[in-house]
């Protein structure tokens, strides 16, 4: 399928996963990501794949562990409360070095929260969520087209680094419809000699496990894993800069917040304020080097988030407190308007006088 079609973000994730060889989906319905499961339920039986609605999110993530252990491309998807339930299994996957895609189409929290869009699982996604020393590779798309592209990328990176990847979207991104062009099928043909595929009596058996009997061995596993994470941090950072070269005020946002931020930047530019937008596409690894460089020319940063202020901590760490960082946010399912972001830009601009 390479012609243009009209899709919901959730559907684009599902179709892109299929296009790159994912034939195993395990999940449990929750608004606002249910279309992923519904799409898989329709498509998988027609292409010889497996769609299974598990009895719970916990069961679904454990089925993902099993399929990933067998070396196949596998995914699950949920929304915020469901991802909390999956967190134990995600930690086990990190400990077992298993590649898979986990999609979180975020809704408001904490607790049952609400079904409207949110970005308040940023900490959960980038700081682990589950227990132990580990990272997920976290991608944050900002259009339906990117939902598709990032899904394929997430599978590729998961296989390349043997780690679970997360696509972090929000309800608006999942529900909105946009024209999208899906790439040709790629098939995902990564060699996985570690997978549990049966020895055929011709090799030593593989073991996939997160339990170590000795502390020095467990320490070595952790250290080796972090050496791999260092490569990811070096090679896989993605971000977009928009009108940043001469910008005094840089608005930072990911996903749906970046779309609002871009409109606000254009509106501020129209009034003569030199504003730009910096959009992290990988949330872990966070584009901290690029942002530190940007802080050499920009004079103030604004974090636009659908949370009480989570990514702002990464921005402050990235610019090493060389510049002021303020927060523009709405929560509970509300989305900051371009006017609200523009007001934050104007406020930050007004405070610039007297500073260099």
């Amino acid at each position: 399928m390479s012609e243009k079609v009209l899709m919901k973000g959730n559907e684009a994730i599902a179709e892109a996963a299929i296009s790159c060889g994912c034939r195993h989906y395990f999940g449990y319905p929750i608004t606002p990501q249910t279309e992923i499961a519904a799409y898989m339920a329709k498509r998988m039986p027609k292409i010889g794949g497996t769609f299974l609605q598990a009895e719970s999110e916990i069961a679904a993530i454990n089925m993902v562990i099993g399929a990933a252990s067998a070396g196949v491309r596998v995914m699950t998807s949920s929304s915020s409360p469901g991802v909390s339930l999956k967190s134990e299994g995600i930690s086990y996957m990190a400990g077992c070095d298993l590649p898979a895609l986990i999609v979180n189409v975020q809704r408001g929290g904490p607790g049952l929260g609400g079904i409207q869009p949110s970005q308040s699982d940023y900490f959960q996604a980038t700081r682990g969520g589950g227990h132990g020393d580990y990272h997920l590779l976290v991608l944050a798309p900002a259009s339906v087209q990117e939902m598709a592209a990032m899904t394929v990328r997430a599978f590729d990176l998961a296989d390349k680094y043997r780690m679970p990847c997360m696509l972090l979207a929000d309800g608006t991104m999942g529900q909105m419809m946009e024209p999208v062009e899906l790439g040709e099928s790629t098939g995902g043909t990564v060699d996985k000699p570690w997978a549990l595929t049966g020895t055929g009596m011709s090799r030593k058996h593989n073991i996939i496990n997160s339990l170590s009997l000795t502390p020095d061995e467990l320490e070595r596993w952790n250290v080796d894993r972090y050496a791999r994470y260092a490569k990811v941090e070096r090679d896989e950072v993605l971000y977009e800069e928009y009108l940043c070269d001469d910008a005094e005020i840089v608005v930072v946002g990911f996903g749906i917040a970046a779309r609002v931020a871009k409109n606000a930047v254009n509106a501020a530019r129209a009034e003569g304020i030199k504003a730009g937008m910096f959009r992290p596409i990988t949330l872990w690894p966070f584009p901290k080097k690029a942002m530190f460089e940007r802080a050499k020319t920009a004079r103030a940063f604004i974090s636009v988030e659908l949370s009480m202020g989570q990514m702002i901590e990464d921005i402050e760490l990235a610019v090493r407190c060389t510049r002021p960082v303020t927060l523009c946010s709405r929560v509970g399912g509300m989305i900051p308007s371009p006017a609200e972001v523009k007001k934050s830009i104007e406020d930050a601009h007004a405070k610039l006088d007297g500073r260099n």
Binding site: M1, K4, V5, L6, M7, K8, E11, E15, T31, P32, E35, Y39, K42, R43, G108, G113, G114, I115, Q116, P117, G171, T172, Q175, M176, M177, E178, P179, I256, R259, V260, G332, G333, M334, I335, S337, P338
Partner: protein
């Protein structure tokens, strides 16, 4: 939108006439936009004082729905029948009690926006016997050639059969709402006529009209009547395009 737009002469006579019009189909095909635009056409065509309502009976879609255009509809003098939980923060697939007005108040001209696919249509079954007894309704299938799961005419026809089984009401025609959102061009619409004719042939029902964004209406009237679409559904300030 703050005032009623203009419509081609005789459009009401060509595409309307029943007291209740239901729009069903695969989700994302354009049902909500078509339903609201159809209601605006009714409002502009029926005598002043004739009550016109849009019923958002979607129990599937959490947001980007008719309810998001409540203010626009109100300004045009079109009543909205919707669950108080529609577009709220809870996931309650409830039918509004005011939906009984659709069958009980026979002075009310109602356009029903049914939820997507057979799952969305299931809830319509509650009202099927009353609609059949009165016999003054039209159930139209909204199809979009650019939705991947209904891009093949046979798949679109299959979805129609599933919907009829779920709600217990028969389709009487097809609405071609083929579009690519903001990437829709006259060529895109031109390309969809063959598709709509094939769906029509497979299910034995006529293409009643083509639904086209107002700015692109152009010269398609030679093929089928054209309903101009006037609504953009925006949720939390984010437009669905």
């Amino acid at each position: 939108m703050s005032s009623l737009p203009d419509y081609p002469d005789g459009l009401y006579r060509k595409i309307a006439g029943r007291r209740v019009t239901l729009f069903c189909g695969h989700y994302g095909s354009g049902k909500s936009t078509v339903a609201m635009s159809f209601a605006a056409m009714l409002r502009a065509s029926l005598p002043a004082g004739t009550p016109v309502a849009v019923a958002d009976l979607d129990i599937v879609n959490p947001y980007f729905r008719t309810k998001d255009c409540e203010e626009d509809l109100g300004r045009l003098g079109i009543e909205l029948i919707a669950s108080e939980y529609a577009s709220s923060n809870v996931d309650l697939p409830a039918m509004p009690e005011s939906a009984y007005r659709i069958t009980e108040d026979r002075s009310l001209h109602t356009v029903i926006d049914v939820g997507g696919d057979d799952r969305g249509a299931l809830a319509m079954g509650r009202y099927a016997s009353a609609l059949l007894a009165e016999g003054d309704f039209d159930m139209l299938a909204v199809i979009n050639r650019f939705r991947p799961l209904t891009a093949a005419p046979a798949d679109a026809a299959e979805v129609m059969r599933e919907i009829e089984l779920a709600c217990g009401l028969p389709f009487s025609g097809i609405v071609n709402c083929s579009n690519l959102g903001s990437a829709t061009t006259p060529e895109v619409i031109e390309e969809s006529f063959g598709y709509a004719e094939e769906v029509s042939r497979l299910c034995g029902l006529p293409v009643r009209f083509t639904a086209v964004m107002r700015g692109l209406c152009g010269s398609f009237e030679e093929k089928t009547p054209v309903l101009p679409l006037d609504f953009t559904i925006s949720h939390g300030g984010i437009e669905n395009r």
